[in-house]
């Protein structure tokens, strides 16, 4: 096993630390409800992390398809924090600007933008931001039946959240602190 990693693959270091005791048993893959849709299975992905295949990893959709169900984390015979490893890959992708899966990333980003602005999420505002960012003129129509249903039930609120507490300063400080000393 190669122990030295080129500079480019160093961004994987925190994830490598989490999965280095993997014995490639495949329990995580067998437990994962989303494995059927992934381009690399979770077991395969951990192997790629150990091999430092940075580009292949960040070009894959595997970690975006993790829905944080924690089945793999619960069952891994080595007790590895696998869901956290998937999340860490999402965080690295944001930090390194390796944005492959637009829908998920825009979803997360717009959600957080709504939180930063108002302290609370108003689903209507956040979905509008998401649709605008996706720049896909027909996308909202896919959600029309749901939108109409929610509207009929009085569940679409066009008002801003009641808290009205901006978290701008907190966001800035958290990002600074994380960067200063990750």
């Amino acid at each position: 096993m190669k122990t030295e990693h080129s500079e480019a693959s160093d961004i994987l270091a925190p994830v490598r630390k989490m999965v280095q005791a993997c014995i490639q048993c495949g329990t995580c893959t067998g437990s994962c409800p989303n494995a059927f849709a992934m381009d690399y299975t979770p077991r395969h992905l951990w192997r790629m992390v150990m091999m430092g295949l940075t580009d292949e990893i960040f070009n894959s959709l595997t970690f975006y398809l993790c829905s944080a169900c924690y089945s793999c984390t619960l069952r891994c015979p080595r007790g590895l924090p696998l869901t956290e490893a998937m999340e860490t890959l999402k965080q690295i992708a944001v930090k390194e600007n390796r944005l492959v899966n637009k829908p998920s990333q825009l979803f997360y980003r717009n959600f957080m933008e709504s939180v930063r602005r108002h302290g609370r999420v108003r689903e209507t505002e956040f979905m509008t931001l998401y649709f605008m960012d996706m720049k896909h003129p027909f996308l909202p129509f896919r959600y029309m039946p749901l939108g109409l249903k929610l509207l009929r039930k009085g569940k679409l609120s066009f008002q801003l959240p009641s808290g009205g507490n901006t978290l701008d300063a907190l966001f800035r400080k958290a990002v600074e602190a994380e960067e200063a000393n990750p």
Binding site: A68, M112, P161
Partner: protein, 297 residues
């Protein structure tokens, strides 16, 4: 019984019936809920996908606010995603003093201090452990004799923090369902993933997961859930899933406090049954009949 109450964003928006029914049920069983003043978003699944520290600071902010109010109460959380994030802050802070310090450095910005003094509890833990099936049985006014209920737990109330139930074979809802006279639907999907935000970002994947759950729910009169995200996924896409599977997979989905609330005599209005996206009419008619049948037999 008194709890600090953290509703979270969904319960203020699309899941308002979960908020109403939780408050109504808790008050009917004599528990007091005190809402955390000026609470803000816990970060949901978005913060952990963007920034680790932020994903702990957001829940810690709310725990710090709660500590300022009362340190002798537990915090009651109905949403499983909020529960997980708040629990994450609790667990990380308990294990890692340096991280706790770092969280507090950020919270200084809001003049808040997180001392990790409050225990976070999921609504299901409170219903099944603190209140318990016996107490609920003693309050039942309307039994659900002959009706079959499928308990759906989802993921994050069960995993990764193993607090009140078996994360592989969850059972905590069963005594509650039996306490109101109903039968438990036997299935193995109670702790399987609903796909979370996949239904929005990766609909072709989300639909598969929802299909698998709805298919195995067949035979039950209703599904009960304990999370706004699960509830939305299970009830909002039933038309699409039925069309896609060429099979009628429509089924009523209720929040657990809505079902238990009906049994102890709360009204449709108090439980906001008209806000559910799935069609509850057939279910309500059948439960009326079940109730009258059980009185006369």
């Amino acid at each position: 019984m008194k709890y600090l109450y953290y509703p979270g964003c969904s319960l203020e928006g699309t899941a308002s019936e979960y908020d109403f029914s939780t408050r109504a049920f808790m008050s009917a069983v004599g528990a007091e809920l005190v809402e955390v003043t000026d609470w803000t978003c816990c970060g949901a699944s978005a913060a952990p996908a963007i920034n680790f520290l932020l994903s702990l600071v957001l829940p810690a902010r709310n725990l710090a606010l709660a500590e300022k109010m009362n340190q002798d109460c537990d915090m009651l959380v109905p949403c499983s995603a909020c529960y997980l994030n708040l629990k994450n802050a609790e667990e990380h802070a308990g294990k890692n003093a340096a991280l706790l310090h770092k969280i507090n450095t950020v919270l200084e910005e809001d003049h808040l201090v997180f001392g990790n003094k409050i225990r976070v509890k999921h609504l299901l833990e409170v219903l099944s452990k603190d209140i318990g099936a016996e107490k609920i049985r003693s309050l039942v006014k309307k039994t659900f004799e002959g009706m079959v209920i499928a308990p759906y737990y989802g993921c994050q109330a069960l995993r990764p923090y193993i607090v009140f139930d078996d994360p592989e074979y969850p059972q905590s809802m069963e005594p509650l369902i039996e306490a109101i006279g109903a039968k438990v639907h036997r299935w193995d999907m109670g702790g399987k993933c609903c796909g979370a935000s996949h239904t929005t970002t990766k609909p072709e994947v989300g639909i598969e997961l929802v299909s698998a759950i709805l298919k195995k729910a067949k035979g039950a009169d209703a599904i009960v859930s304990v999370c706004p995200m699960c509830q939305m996924n299970l009830e909002a896409f039933q038309d699409r899933v039925s069309e896609y599977q060429h099979e009628d997979l429509h089924i009523p989905v209720l929040y657990l406090p809505q079902l238990l609330g009906l049994a102890i005599g709360l009204t449709d209005k108090e439980l906001r049954l008209d806000s559910n996206l799935s069609d509850l009419n057939g279910f309500l008619r059948k439960s009326e009949a079940a109730h009258h049948g059980s009185i006369h037999s």
